[in-house]
């Protein structure tokens, strides 16, 4: 709202310069957007104070509304518009009743609680300079003296008005009705608008001449030849205007006021003001009475304001005289009964519904800065932290410790990228995305992370190790929390002392192991899996078998997968195929399902007796999984076998075609005694025998 200070001075004395006025309005909830010089001819003290009006204060979309705020702030009287007052605050003296020149038919009082109209004879021409200057200051383009007056009233009182050329209204008739299917109207901006039956229109005897509360029609527009006009000054339903304005795609000054809630008390005043301005500027005069259709006058809203409640909400006792001064200044009538007031709310304060709204009015003018500073007492002990937050923190911490840097990527991505990671039927589209780039909710954290890899590669950063904790969205899975990582480039930082070791599947697997251990996944195993965006032979899914409390063995549960990204996907994402990218993604809900508390632990006591270590090298089939070898060893070994660990795998010279040499280190240990070489030797023989039998292993 561009407030011209000299216009404001019509209503109230302003005892401070414009910048101080701006600051003071800011401190009462009207954020200062800027101060601009007033247009010529302007005095040096004049200025335009541009303030933001919050949606709850349509009354301040008129000079008079802000004048009340200023009057209350500086405790100055507000000069009201009146029939007795000469310019600049005069209202025309008009009778209310039927007007023989125009017939007004209010057919839809639900969408138009009040409609006032008056006829005036006019001589259309330019407006006087002072009026043009004020409109310019308010940001409104002058058109002609009649239209300018309607806009002047709009900016002064916040009451939208319209002027129809009476000669162009078929049957000299105004019907406030809903549009009929198929009806159209050409609005003042020259655009033909299709109307639907939910829209309220102002029609003449034949067809719509205006879209109620939004914009007038071009056909009945005031022109140079107009002799008689009908002034419209109405109150339209906020919701209806908002829906219509949005459907049509027209945001106008009038619609902005109606959709926030206009003053049902203002329509007649608007007409009286417009007619006074007609006379004052020599543009014309009213003919006959004001027609005021107001079938169901709204009752005055009355609210009880308790003094004690003010203190209870604000934490400060405010003296009654001050409360009364603020309320009266803002246009409320407050009568004190005992420890409270009965407050009558003026019609222009559509935002004041209940007691708390009045308390805000008191607080605003008392000054938030004057309220005391205290602390709320703690009445109950704090709750234990949410398990899901501990879970996410744990996942984050483990990846950080593993040397991964945390990324945050957008939850919505390009559909094309999303389609690489989930079937189209699983994707959740955004109905009104900002752009194609943000059109689909991510089904996986990987597309965002890989985009970050691309960004880094694009900026000459080759070694990228990132992770993210966040939500993913699919139609079947809904909203799910995941942790994912990407790793490309070197496995260890480049150094002059060693050759570069590129990241491999087994580095990615080590990350999975970190998560498996951190979340105490029980009986974790890996399985080969086909995932369309991964290389088939280098991808594993991790499953665990929950044991918590179940009598019968539970089903295995998939917790995540890891492996190498498929070349086709790398091409699609503009990543260089020369450097493999290893990725992994885990379902945090599944990970956390193995233990009720990731932070709890029972410490295992450290072994008190020495261990015995034995190495064994065997030649087996190259496709025999190491896990099977380990399984055979464990089942053949006594309970004293504490650990099995592969330390070499060799294929090539000296080993038959299709076979490999696998070397394992076995650790034997007892919590109760020192083992003897003989018993370990016996165990080793049993183990070797089992390996020979199960896998045709040959000892090297």
């Amino acid at each position: 709202m561009k407030l011209l200070v000299s216009w404001l001075r019509d209503f109230v004395d302003v005892p401070v310069p414009p910048d101080e006025l701006g600051r003071m309005l800011s401190m009462r909830g009207f954020e200062l957007a800027g101060i601009e010089p007033a247009p010529p001819p302007a005095s040096s003290e004049d200025a335009i104070v541009d303030v933001e009006i919050t949606p709850n204060r349509p009354d301040c979309l008129g000079v008079i509304g802000l004048a009340r705020e200023v009057a209350t702030t500086f405790d100055r009287p507000l000069r009201e518009l009146s029939r007795n007052r000469p310019a600049p605050l005069s209202l025309a003296t008009l009778d209310v009743g039927a007007n023989e020149r125009v017939r007004v038919l209010l057919e839809d009082p639900a969408l138009c609680p009040r409609y006032a109209a008056a006829v005036a004879e006019v001589t259309v021409g330019p407006s006087p300079a002072w009026l043009v200057a004020r409109l310019h200051a308010a940001g409104i383009r002058p058109i002609n003296n009649v239209v300018d007056i309607t806009n002047y009233v709009l900016m002064e009182l916040g009451q939208p008005m319209h002027a129809f050329d009476l000669a162009k209204l078929a049957g000299s008739e105004i019907r406030i009705r809903r549009a009929r299917a198929g009806e159209k109207v050409r609005t003042l901006d020259g655009t033909e608008r299709a109307l639907t039956p939910d829209m309220l229109v102002i029609a003449d005897g034949a067809r719509p001449q205006a879209i109620a509360g939004v914009m007038g029609g071009a056909d009945s527009e005031v022109s140079q030849s107009t002799r008689l006009v009908v002034f419209e000054s109405a109150n339209f339903d906020a919701k209806s205007v908002r829906i219509t304005s949005r459907k049509i795609g027209l945001k106008t000054e009038a619609a902005a006021r109606f959709e926030r809630g206009a003053d049902v008390g203002a329509p007649v005043t608007g007409i009286e003001r417009a007619c006074a301005l007609l006379e004052a500027t020599g543009a014309g005069r009213a003919l006959g009475s004001v027609v005021d259709c107001y079938p169901t006058p709204a009752p005055r809203r009355q609210i009880r304001l308790r003094q004690a409640r003010i203190a209870r909400v604000l934490g400060e006792t405010i003296v009654p005289a001050l409360v009364e001064r603020f309320l009266t200044g803002l246009g409320f009538q407050a009568s004190k009964t005992g420890d409270s007031w009965d407050v009558v709310v003026p019609t222009f304060r559509v935002d004041i519904i209940r007691e708390t709204d009045l308390i805000e009015e008191v607080a605003r003018h008392y000054g938030y800065d004057k309220l005391p500073v205290t602390f709320p007492a703690l009445q109950t002990p704090p709750e234990a932290p949410l398990p899901s937050l501990n879970r996410d923190r744990r996942a984050r911490e483990m990846l950080l410790r593993a040397g991964f840097t945390e990324a945050v990527t957008f939850s919505f991505i390009e559909k094309q990228a999303a389609g690489l990671f989930a079937a189209d039927a699983e994707l959740v589209p955004v109905a009104n995305p900002l752009s194609e780039k943000f059109s689909t909710l991510r089904p996986s954290l990987l597309p965002g992370l890989l985009e970050s890899v691309r960004h880094n590669r694009h900026h000459q950063v080759r070694d990228v190790r990132l992770f993210e904790v966040g939500r993913c969205f699919t139609r079947s899975g809904g909203e799910q929390s995941n942790v994912a990582f990407v790793w490309t480039g070197a496995a260890r930082a480049d150094h002059w002392s060693t050759d570069v070791v590129p990241v491999s599947f087994f580095d990615a697997k080590a990350v999975a192991d970190v998560l498996i251990r951190a979340f105490k996944v029980t009986k974790p195993t890996v399985e080969r899996v086909q995932i369309p965006y991964m290389i088939p032979g280098r991808t594993a899914q991790v499953v665990g078998t929950p044991t918590n409390g179940a009598e019968s063995p539970s089903k295995t549960r998939h917790v995540g997968y890891l492996g190498e990204l498929a070349p086709a996907v790398m091409r699609a994402l503009d990543l260089p195929e020369s450097d493999p990218v290893f990725v992994g993604e885990f379902d945090l809900g599944a990970l956390a399902s193995f233990t009720s508390d990731v932070e709890s632990r029972r410490v295992e006591s450290l072994p008190r007796f020495p261990s015995i270590v034995r190495d064994i090298s065997i030649i087996v089939d190259e496709y025999l999984p190491a896990a099977n070898v380990r399984g055979t060893i464990r089942s053949a070994a006594p309970a004293t076998l504490a650990g099995v660990h592969e330390f070499d795998r060799y294929q090539g010279k000296g080993i038959p075609e299709g076979r490999i040499s696998l070397s394992l280190r076995l650790t034997f240990q007892s919590p109760e005694r020192t083992l003897t070489d003989a018993e370990v030797q016996q165990a080793m023989e049993a183990i070797l025998g089992a390996l020979v039998k199960a896998h045709g292993a040959v000892q090297r």
Partner: protein
């Protein structure tokens, strides 16, 4: 032919060469040159002294002998000096770079979120979280924002093309969690709700369609606006500096009444006015207010008995101010050169 001057010249030449020798090998070469048994400079000098006139011989012989001894002494001294400055056997060049460890870096938005939480948790706040896909009721209606209310324009909403898990939109704030919490817990309430929120904002240096918020809610029988002030002044002064100026100004939110915008003195200009604070000297950091009774009614709390305050803070906004980042999009590019600074 030799004389005193010639010996002095040889001595100067030796001093000069000794000064330039920086290794044991160079010292050995120097020794060979001057003290070599056959071709050495000193051997030559001795021969020349022997063929000098007999009267000069004692003087010249004395000088030559002194020169020889000085060579020995100076070479030895120099050898010792070199040994002292040299690393011991088996040493490495400690000036070569270390093998870089891979240190993971927390994202700045996580660092700040955890920092904000670490201020509120000791004050008894419980951290809650909820779904990012929300329904109209929890995102708007229960918060006193009915359909077709102009306040909905303040938060341009992103809707889903296909509803999932009963939700139709991406939450525009984390306030829905406050509703869910109050639906499930009787007062008193003291929670903070961090998380991602979504708005159909432009994508530019100060806006992204997704950002992070932390909202707080306190409900009790005697919670006042003065408590709101105390709590948030305390929070801001812990987060920024102990003497950071804090300003409360009226504003409008549908779910609070009275409502307050909270500003801190500009971190860049110290309140004198600069482009960052748009010459006002103040930076807006929080929105807040006393919980609207309609919100209490929506969750079944008695608005006569209970009062409360709520607040919300944008984490990116804080991060921009605290770290001097000038483009909010930097938080989402995940450029390692940026992230490794945290």
């Amino acid at each position: 032919m030799t004389d005193v001057a010639e010996i002095e010249r040889l001595r100067a030449e030796f001093d000069n060469e000794l000064a330039r020798a920086t290794s044991d090998r160079e010292l050995q070469t120097l020794r060979d040159k001057y003290l070599g048994r056959k071709q050495g400079v000193v051997v030559g000098l001795m021969k020349a002294v022997a063929s000098a006139p007999p009267a000069d011989r004692p003087t010249l012989g004395g000088l030559a002998n002194t020169f020889k001894q000085d060579i020995e002494t100076q070479l030895a001294a120099r050898r010792t000096a070199l040994a002292v400055g040299r690393p011991p056997a088996g040493s490495v060049d400690i000036t070569l770079p270390g093998r870089e460890l891979s240190i993971g870096h927390r994202h700045p938005l996580t660092i700040l979120r955890e920092r904000v939480e670490s201020i509120f948790v000791p004050m008894g706040y419980h951290v809650v979280e909820g779904p990012e896909v929300e329904d109209e009721y929890h995102n708007f209606e229960a918060l006193n924002i009915p359909a077709e209310h102009p306040a909905r324009d303040m938060q341009d909403t992103l809707y889903l093309g296909t509803p999932i898990t009963g939700g139709t939109l991406l939450r525009t704030h984390t306030s829905g969690m406050q509703i869910r919490y109050m639906e499930a817990h009787p007062p008193p309430v003291r929670i903070i709700a961090p998380g991602k929120v979504y708005r159909r904002d432009n994508f530019d240096p100060s806006h992204t369609p997704m950002f992070h918020q932390i909202e707080g809610l306190v409900v009790g029988e005697d919670v006042t606006m003065a408590d709101l002030k105390g709590t948030l002044i305390g929070f801001l002064r812990q987060l920024f500096q102990p003497d950071t100026p804090v300003l409360f100004r009226p504003t409008f939110f549908p779910y609070t009444e009275p409502s307050a915008d909270i500003f801190i003195g500009c971190q860049l200009c110290g309140g004198n006015g600069c482009p960052l604070c748009k010459r006002t000297g103040w930076l807006e950091v929080l929105g807040s207010g006393m919980v609207h009774p309609a919100v209490f009614e929506a969750v079944g709390y008695d608005p006569e008995r209970y009062t409360g305050f709520a607040f919300g803070v944008g984490i990116e906004r804080l991060a921009l101010l605290m770290y001097g980042v000038d483009d909010i999009r930097a938080f989402y590019e995940n450029d390692l050169r940026f992230l490794e600074q945290f």
